[in-house]
Amino acid sequence: MLRSAMLTFRMHRFEVLITSALVALTAISALVAYTHVTAANPPDQCWIQNWDFEGSLPDTPECHALVQAFWPVAGEAGFVASPIGVLLPFVVGLLLGVPIVGREIEMRTAALAWSLSGDRRRWLLARLLPMLALALIGLVVAATLIAEMARAAHPWNYQGPGRIPSLTELGSEGPTLVGRGVMALGIAVFVGALIGRTLPAFAISAVLAFAFLFVGAPGLQRVIGSQLAVWREVALQDDGPNLFIEGVYRQEYRHRDGRTFQDEDVWGMAEDECGCSGEAVERWMEENVTRYEVSVPIEAYGTFEVAETVVTSGIGTALLLLTFPVVSRRRPD
């Protein structure tokens, strides 16, 4: 088993070395950034002062200086989380995934392997498992270190009354990073087996992976967010600070007949229905429309993580399983 795994790594030594180096660099960067932000992190009291928008707490010069000095150091950690943490699972998944079947077919080594073993499922398993294990170990290490680093770099997320729930790190740390890596690996292995050419398979897999990153992931987060959203009724004129959760937060207006409207549509609707303008519209809205803030509490972050990880790793696993019948039926070149 170990000998077979070592053979697999030697077959793909270039990709193994590159991805190992990337993971190691990311891990070291996260550790260095963690050390820096931990050392520069102001005391909790300073953060409480910093986020006290109502000004009930005195903003001491010492705290102010410490908080201002912290921002550049936190920026260092921010760079490790994004773009490095965001891109790492895709790079690792694509680099390790495409050659597993795609290059074997392209270089015609599959013909030798498949002429030695009629059981192609066993062959694929022997090639796939070591690469999957390598990807998982590397990504778990990187994801854990980035998560610790991000936690240290965003202390206000976890303490004090001024905390700001944020989903900005979703996908760049913790289990979501690993889930995205499994998905990218699944896409790459499957497309590689279908196409049997390394470069086109890499290009198509990259397009699919980045389509997920820029379209699928925000869409998925909106779906998950809508399930976890908390609707809070607020006054129509209320301009106070809102809970802000990136990509999830929105305002909605509900007509007394049940219809809902977005910010940009509600005024036009009110003008049409009341047949009036100016303050008369505001009065009509007071009587007929209720305004809601739709937000996702920070406590739901864990649910977000689990849901996205289940979906992405599920897609990856399904594609890996679908590769087996593809390989079983495929011509070797």
Partner: protein
């Protein structure tokens, strides 16, 4: 004496590639007997590789059936492949793996792989086990692929143009190893090639494939004895296979005859005659002669 049971069978096999729409094989019938070394010859595109790959289940016939020792690889690929050792023209070696790694790989994929046999052969040929395959010469790579195929101890060897990229000395060495191993353990080999002169001494039988059809399949000695070449125009029409130009420009006709006054053909001339007969629009009388 060969066992009359066919170990490789193709029954009315046709293969049409969907993308190009071309027929690689048309109604091919072939039975390779146990213990023989058969040369499968034909020009590029004749369907040699398609036929060999069909025996491994790499190609699915559009019609007909192939069998390896009675097993249809489309029905039970695992069992069919267990009986076959295969060498492809490209050798299929991993450029970045050492020769020793290849033997390990073969051992992990094929139960009962005889690593000692394979490494012993490579030692005899002076091929270093620690060398990467990508650093070996074409001849050495072919020998590694052959040693792996021999190490499977499969009763059937399929060799798809393994000589194509080799120099004459390397071809000679390769065939020597092949013949001694196959004869030594009573295996059966089907060797495709378009270098006819090389296979003459190594093979017992020849199968000529032209335009996807089997034009001839006979023991080499017998078929040479049954044919003659005559100057074009002097032959009896009923015995004509086909006319073709010899090297040097002389036009001759291959005829089915044992007439001692006519010249015996070389194996190359025999193949040329049958391949000429397979060309579309040929005036040959293959049907009449057969």
């Amino acid at each position: 004496m060969s066992d009359p049971t066919p170990v490789l069978e193709a029954v009315s096999v046709s293969k049409r590639y969907r993308r190009s729409g071309t027929w690689a094989l048309r109604d091919v019938d072939l039975a390779i007997l146990a213990g023989t070394i058969t040369a499968l010859v034909g020009p590029n595109g004749a369907g040699k590789s398609t036929l060999l790959r069909s025996f491994l289940g790499f190609e699915q016939p559009t019609a007909g059936v192939v069998r390896v020792m009675g097993i249809d690889p489309q029905v039970d690929r695992k069992e069919a492949i267990r009986r076959v050792g295969y060498v492809s023209q490209s050798t299929g070696l991993y450029r970045g793996l050492s020769v020793s790694d290849h033997l390990d790989l073969a051992g992990s994929l094929r139960p009962g792989f005889d690593r000692e046999l394979a490494s012993g052969r490579l030692d005899e040929l002076g091929i270093p086990l620690g060398q990467r395959a990508g650093e070996l010469s074409g001849g050495q790579q072919a020998h590694v692929a052959l040693s792996i195929a021999l190490g499977t101890r499969a009763p059937v060897l399929l060799l798809d143009e393994p000589l194509a990229s080799l120099d004459p000395l390397a071809r000679h060495d390769f065939l020597n190893v092949l013949v001694s191993e196959v004869r030594g353990r009573g295996a059966t080999a089907l060797l495709s090639s378009h270098i006819v002169s090389d296979v003459e001494t190594a093979c017992d039988a020849i199968a000529v494939l032209g335009s996807g059809r089997v034009m001839l399949h006979r023991p080499i000695a017998a078929t040479l004895a049954e044919h003659r070449v005559a100057r074009a125009g002097s032959e009896a029409a009923s015995d004509v296979i086909a006319s073709f130009g010899r090297q040097g420009g002389e036009r001759v006709t291959l005829v089915r005859s044992t007439d001692p006054s006519l010249q015996a053909p070389s194996l190359e001339e025999l193949v040329m005659g049958y391949l000429s007969a397979s060309r579309p629009g040929s005036e040959a009388g293959l049907g009449r002669a057969a």
